[in-house]
């Protein structure tokens, strides 16, 4: 995204230089070399990196996470973090600096903006920065381009198998236990946490002995104020629901631009699970109790932060 605009600017500069060289009577290869040499160093590095990537010379891990891509789009995320949403972060030290951990947060909307802002918070504020992986609503992986970008920035299909595998390799994993019920929340329901399914995320934490860190995200539930749904359209495109917001779909792709609400992210005290042992995952009552405890914690912290933040769009 950010690379694209940069690319256009570079191409223009390069062509202008090339034109000048040709006008001065140089032959084509020489003019190209001269024009390339005149590009400022940063731009030249960018071009070189882009060419290298076109040769397939880049690394993605086995999940498709692409660190170079994340670096390339960071300016955009920086802008969103600093200017657009003005994110305030507290309790970042509650996230373990190494080893496995499961972050559980509230969620609204299809796009995983809250997940990306959580990673930004950890990358920028944590003493030992870590890039979390996050589970994304399955439906996003049917979409062209969206699926590619989500994978590159660390999203994976919301499957318990994926979560377990990531935790077993000592990763930091973010989940949104409200699931599709949270995704399709109405604007009037914002910051009211939905039921946490069957507590699958607690089972995963127990099985892998990963501590659960409840995370309260405030601001993310106002960026796409969903006022209604168009069920017929949803069926036509095969989506679980089709949101109607003041801007979407009326403004086309522009309607997908999130609103600039003020954000707060609080990482709460971790709930330790390792001492319960992996067999505890089969204990229904314990799973539901822990799940409810996490839900209550997030709900309480969300409301506290809503009050502390004040008006949403100022």
């Amino acid at each position: 995204m950010a690379g694209f605009g940069q690319g256009v600017a570079v191409a223009t500069m390069f062509l202008r230089g090339l034109r000048g060289g040709l006008d001065a009577g140089l032959d084509l290869p020489e003019a190209m070399a001269r024009s390339a040499a005149e590009l400022p160093r940063g731009v030249r590095d960018g071009v070189r990196a882009a060419l290298r990537r076109l040769d397939g010379d880049y690394q993605e891990d086995e999940w498709g996470f692409d660190a170079e891509f994340v670096d390339a789009v960071e300016p955009l995320f920086d802008f969103l973090y600093d200017r657009w949403w003005r994110v305030d972060v507290t309790g970042v030290a509650n996230v373990p600096a190494h080893g496995r951990a499961l972050l559980a947060a509230n969620h609204a909307g299809i796009m995983p903006w809250d997940a990306t802002m959580m990673s930004m918070a950890l990358m920028r504020e944590h003493p030992l920065p870590r890039q979390p992986r996050f589970l994304v609503l399955n439906w996003a992986f049917d979409l062209p381009y969206v699926s590619v970008v989500i994978r590159k920035v660390g999203g994976v299909v919301a499957s318990p198998h994926n979560a377990v595998r990531l935790l077993e390799s000592d990763q930091l994993v973010a989940v949104f236990p409200e699931g599709v019920k949270g995704t399709g929340k109405d604007y009037s329901q914002r910051y009211r946490l939905q039921r946490f399914g069957r507590g699958g995320f607690v089972e995963i934490a127990l099985r892998t002995g990963a501590p659960i860190v409840p995370v309260a995200v405030v601001g993310s539930e106002e960026i796409y104020p969903k006022l209604g749904e168009a069920p017929l359209l949803a069926r036509a495109v095969g989506a679980p629901f089709f949101p109607l917001t003041p801007t979407f779909p009326w403004l086309g792709p522009l309607g997908a631009v999130p609103l600039p609400s003020k954000w707060r992210i609080e990482f709460c005290e971790p709930i330790e699970t390792a001492s319960l042992g992996p067999d505890a995952a089969a204990d229904r009552a314990l799973v539901l109790e822990l799940s409810e405890r996490v839900r209550e914690t997030i709900q309480r912290k969300v409301l506290e932060n809503v009050v502390e933040r004040g008006p949403a769009f100022v």
């Binding site: 990537r53 076109l54 040769d55 397939g56 010379d57 880049y58 993605e60 086995e62 999940w63 498709g64 399955n138 992986f141 049917d142 979409l143 062209p144 381009y145 699926s147 590619v148 994978r151 994976v156 299909v157 499957s159 198998h161 994926n162 595998r165």
Partner: protein, 329 residues
């Protein structure tokens, strides 16, 4: 301890020939028989060649006569070959496996059966776990003809394993092979002058290197384990990165038009892509290989990215003798 006696089906295939030769050279194997209708392209020293059609009930008398303790079933056809109808592919796969298992039932000497099956059973699905383990075979409906073949073979095989508790039955679920010599859909696809891709999709792909494909077969024949085992190079690779490092230009096609466009590109040298392969190009598939390492005791020498790199390097390096390439081991 007496040496092992093994029978290999599909011995006329490059992989079957190579396995037969390796086992025949191994002193712990007393007897190696190979069954096929096609003669191996070069004579196999120390291998008893049985010329028979696996679909023919006569194998029910031939196989017990060989008095083997292990049967390695290596005749599952992955794509419709030249001069083969999709019907005869189905017959070789399903009826062939049925006849083979019937023959095994009549052979009291049999202790182990190893089948080189396919990870195609898992399918290629947008919502699938990133890495399928052996317990996840029936998460999704079987969509293509080949998948249904594999499903049927697995059913026959499971039934056999249940009824004959004394026989160790291993179902190897192979990901597609890649390498400088092997001839598979993926190597054909990457050899096309321009490769069609799905617009806006970059699936995670996984392959097994041709050397590991052979080594894994040999390792499993030496040490069969019960149940299914995935065979693949660990890790995965993005299709885009793979096509770029193979130096192929790609043609992104919107999903609804993909089948029509790729079929009409036959004249440009694009191979016909099977239904499974088309889904693979859209959604990808990867498997977990811990069972292969922990239980069979075989660690693949190439991860998936390394296998692709090796393919690209050696194919471009031109170190491949043309006669071997034509055989396509």
């Amino acid at each position: 301890m007496p040496g092992r006696r093994v029978l290999i089906t599909g011995v006329g295939s490059p992989l079957g020939s190579a396995l037969a030769q390796r086992l025949a050279a191994d002193p712990s194997f007393d007897y190696v028989a190979g069954l096929d209708t096609r003669r191996p392209s070069r004579p196999l020293e120390g291998v008893d060649f049985i010329e028979a059609d696996i679909r023919d009930p006569v194998i029910a008398t031939l196989i017990p006569q060989a008095e083997v303790d292990t049967v390695m079933h290596n005749q599952i056809v992955r794509r419709v070959g030249p001069g083969m109808s999709s019907r005869s592919m189905h017959d070789i796969n399903v009826i062939g496996s049925l006849q083979l298992l019937t023959a095994c039932e009549r052979s009291p000497s049999i202790e182990a059966i190893v089948i080189r099956g396919s990870a195609g059973i898992y399918g290629s699905e947008p919502h699938a776990p990133q890495f399928f383990d052996e317990e996840m075979a029936r998460l999704y409906p079987l969509r293509s003809r080949f998948q249904r073949d594999v499903g049927e073979i697995e059913n026959l095989f499971d039934t056999y394993a249940r009824r004959h508790a004394g026989t160790v039955c291993t179902m190897l679920r192979y990901q597609p092979s890649i390498g400088p010599l092997v001839d598979t859909q993926i190597t054909r696809y990457l050899s096309a002058p321009i490769v069609p891709t799905y617009l806006g999709f970059d699936p995670r792909m996984q392959f097994v290197h041709e050397d590991d494909a052979l080594d894994a077969l040999a390792a499993t024949v030496r040490r069969p384990v019960r149940g299914a085992v995935n065979v693949a190079g660990p890790g995965s690779i993005g299709l885009t990165r793979m096509i770029r490092s193979a130096g192929r230009p790609s043609l992104p096609v919107p999903a609804p038009l993909f089948a029509r466009v790729s079929d009409s590109m036959g004249r440009l040298g694009v191979p016909r892509l099977s239904d499974d392969f088309q889904r693979l190009l859209r959604y990808g598939r990867a498997v977990d290989t811990r069972r292969l390492v922990d239980e069979v005791g075989f660690t693949p020498g190439y991860s998936t990215p390394a296998a692709v790199d090796d393919y690209v390097r050696r194919r471009d390096g031109g170190r491949v003798p043309p006669s071997l390439a034509a055989v396509g081991i």
